[in-house]
């Protein structure tokens, strides 16, 4: 008995679906049975094992202008075909098309739990938006690269369709997603370290196990020349919270920040505040929480007129082992709140 074919739904824009060019870029999502356009050579490459059961089509402008509605429609239409794999593109350098491919793949993966893959050129702006969530296969920068793209995509679709494990990006040929996954390997870290050092000393090729990240450098704001009429806020990653840690901020790997009102509070005392920060001896922070969140000093500055006012709310999280991604997220959210409250300056304290 022939094995059951895995089912594939393919996403294309109006152009590759041969509906029309820019003049048709406003068409809303529609789904057609079977393979269309680049889907035809893709189907040939998949052979007898898999079948493109439907093609999802949407105009690039419609998608860009109605992204939520378009995504919802794609998910709903795709779900009716019960595919094993969802594939989109290739989008080459087309930005709107790339975003439509990425957003469709991301939503289908998240909402339907179906494996997804798309393909585009390395400078397509959609790549950085979706590479963490979606397998993206590199292509050339224009449709002239279709011939090379199809076999790469079909190989990947086949693996997903047959439920095979996807290996490392360098083995499978997708853009690294930047997801770090733990694995036990055959040799200890010390053995690997000495091997790597010898290769480096001999001028032989070697591969680092962690390529250095590039840090987002935050330019310092211009100095405030006159503090007398300013509102200054306190923000800390040192974990100073009301006694009992009411929002349950984690001692390490914080998943949240919290805000507390300090209007009318002049001093942080151990009967009302504590640190919830792991990773250091909290004795001194708990004895006098002002040591980490200098409220008493700020009140003194407020009283003698050095600053106009201390903002009534402070923000707190725990820095211990908290990921950079979470820290960026908290920082952005806190900054927006402070900006909305017309706070002029912030004192950040850590541990």
């Amino acid at each position: 008995m022939a094995q059951k074919k895995y089912r594939v739904v393919h996403y294309l824009n109006q152009f590759f679906a041969q509906i029309g060019g820019e003049e048709k870029a406003n068409i809303p999502p529609l789904i057609k049975e079977g393979a269309v356009g680049p889907g035809i050579p893709l189907q040939q490459a998949l052979g007898e094992e898999g079948e493109i059961v439907a093609t999802m089509i949407c105009g690039d402008n419609y998608f860009a202008e109605n992204i939520e509605a378009a995504v919802e429609k794609v998910v709903e239409s795709v779900s009716r075909y019960k595919p094993d794999v969802f594939v989109a593109g290739p989008a080459f350098t087309a930005g709107r098309y790339g975003i439509a491919c990425g957003a469709s793949c991301s939503a289908v993966s998240k909402k339907l739990g179906i494996p997804v893959v798309t393909a585009m050129y390395e400078e397509n702006p959609a790549l950085d938006l979706y590479r963490k969530e979606v397998y993206v296969i590199p292509t050339a920068d224009s449709v002239r690269g279709m011939k090379e793209a199809i076999p790469k995509m079909s190989g990947f679709v086949r693996k997903l369709g047959l439920g095979q494990e996807i290996g490392l990006p360098q083995e499978e040929g997708y853009f690294p997603r930047g997801i770090r996954v733990n694995q036990f390997v055959g040799r200890t870290g010390a053995e690997r370290a000495v091997d790597m050092l010898l290769s480096k000393l001999r001028g032989e090729p070697f591969q680092t196990e962690y390529p250095m990240p590039t840090f987002e450098l935050v330019p310092a704001s211009p100095a405030i020349r006159d503090l007398r009429s300013t509102t200054i806020a306190l923000v800390t990653s040192g974990g100073i919270v009301p006694l009992g840690n009411p929002d349950r901020i984690e001692a390490a790997s914080a998943s949240k920040f919290a805000e507390y009102n300090i209007a009318g509070v002049d001093d942080l005392t151990p009967d009302a505040y504590q640190t919830c920060h792991g990773g250091y001896d909290p004795t001194y922070a708990n004895d006098d929480p002002d040591r980490v969140l200098p409220l008493d000093a700020m009140r003194a500055l407020e009283k003698d007129g050095t600053i106009g006012k201390l903002y009534d709310v402070y923000y707190v999280t725990v820095g211990n082992a908290t990921s950079v991604a979470n820290s960026q997220k908290f920082g952005k959210a806190i900054a927006e709140k402070l900006k909305a409250a017309d706070v002029d300056g912030v004192i950040l304290t850590s541990t």
Binding site: G189, A190, S253, D281
Partner: protein, 423 residues
């Protein structure tokens, strides 16, 4: 400097009337060990339990693990400057109870300790799951400051390791390991130095070197045998995954690997210890000084192992940058904090010169572990140790925690076989 380690293999541990070794079984006189612990009047209560590989036992919260040893000949005593008389260690004969360890348990601060599972999926992450643990559960007297409790626990753990070690002083070892930096005649072999960084941020992030608080050190050069013979002692209460216990220092995996290849692929010229202090001034001074020492001894390459994470990432990167600028090739060993989803960048600092990095795993990875029949210590502390959270203890008594909580899971001495890969 020639060090012989007389390896006495321990396959089981039992309580007995006398602390002795018979047929690879370590018998422990519980009363004597408790009496030894009670010598420190800062401890109110002490208990001893045994945990063997494969048993359904979870030990939590663990502070330090120490391999029992005894000096048979040669200068110095074990753990000089702390429980041993001062004297240079690293030569003569030291007998080792391989396959046994002392583990100290007690909630000093809560967040800064870890756990050991003796079986189940958690056991693959910790080297201490594979050895026979003599567990000292130590309680402080009322009102004892955490730093005093830490010291009492540290010294008691060391004394217990020495006490157990004495039982093997006159036993013929199963194996003899000989460590000697014999002269290398092949001048084409690259000269390699090992840079061991010692956590020294204070507030219970401390390491002791010949009894000296490491935060007061200037980087210094030593023979690898000194490390293997007790010159470095852990005083750390930090995340369990990547603190170097005293056991790790005694069995430093980088030193062992450099020894293994000494004279064949490289010329192992020595160890430099440096500290990991908190201020920029200290970081600049120590990394300047350590890099200069590496240059002075004419090293071509260096392996730099980090301890801890976050703040020490900066020291690691400064060491790397300064050495590479001297023309010394470096390889770094670090773990990662890439978030529970693995999607964040992993380090708190980076320099472009760090092009050769060994990753020993993402400490934020969450694992679900089954309940164990017996808990030594206090299971609830899993919710406050670094990498645990409210709800970490499941209804059935299992754990859902980051591997950060497991003793030695991402040891940056490259002790284990875990790594993280980019997908």
């Amino acid at each position: 400097m020639r060090l012989e380690l007389g390896i006495i293999k321990i396959k089981d541990v039992q309580f007995g009337d006398e602390t002795i070794i018979e047929d690879s079984t370590l018998y422990v006189n519980k009363k004597e060990l408790i009496a030894l612990a009670r010598q420190d009047d800062r401890l109110s209560e002490a208990d001893v339990e045994l945990a063997r590989p494969g048993e359904e036992v979870r030990i939590i919260p663990v502070k330090d693990v120490i391999e029992p040893r005894v000096k048979v000949s040669g200068s110095g005593e074990l753990f000089p400057g702390l429980v041993g008389k001062m004297g240079t260690v690293g030569s003569g004969r030291t007998n080792v109870l391989r396959g046994a360890a002392v583990a100290t348990v007690g909630r000093i601060i809560g967040p800064q300790e870890g756990f050991i599972d003796m079986t189940g999926p958690g056991a693959q992450y910790s080297p201490f799951s594979q050895i026979n643990n003599v567990v000292l559960v130590l309680h402080p007297i009322d009102g004892l400051d955490p730093h005093a409790y830490e010291e009492a626990m540290r010294l008691t753990g060391l004394r217990a390791a020495v006490y157990l070690g004495k039982a093997c002083k006159d036993i013929a070892p199963d194996e003899l390991e000989v460590y000697e930096l014999s002269p290398v005649t092949d001048t084409t072999l690259p000269r390699v130095v090992y840079l061991s960084t010692l956590l020294s941020e204070g507030l219970l992030h401390d390491t002791w070197f010949y009894g000296v608080d490491a935060k007061k050190l200037l980087p210094t050069l030593l023979h690898p045998n000194e490390v293997m013979d007790g010159a470095i002692v852990s005083g750390n209460c930090v995340s369990a995954c990547d603190k170097h216990t005293t056991y790790h220092h005694l069995n430093d995996s980088v030193i062992k690997e450099l020894y293994r290849r000494h004279g064949k692929d490289l010329n192992f010229v020595g160890v430099i210890v440096t500290n990991l202090n908190v201020t920029l001034l200290d970081k600049e001074r120590s990394t300047d000084y350590a890099s200069k020492l590496v240059k002075l001894i004419g090293a071509d390459g260096a392996i730099i192992a980090e301890e801890g994470f976050g703040n020490p990432d900066t020291d690691l990167m400064m060491l790397c940058k300064k050495m590479e600028e001297y023309g010394i090739k470096t390889v770094l060993i670090t773990d990662e904090y890439a978030g529970q989803d693995g999607a964040s960048q992993s380090l708190a600092d980076a320099v472009p010169q760090a092009d050769a990095v060994i990753s020993v795993g993402n400490a934020n990875e969450v694992v679900t572990l089954p309940p164990m029949k017996h808990i030594i210590g206090d299971l609830k502390s899993a919710e406050v140790i670094s990498g645990g959270f409210v709800g970490s203890v499941t209804a059935s008594g299992g754990l859902s925690v980051e591997i950060q909580t497991i003793m030695g899971s991402t040891c940056q001495l490259g002790f284990g076989k875990l790594t993280a890969r980019g997908y």
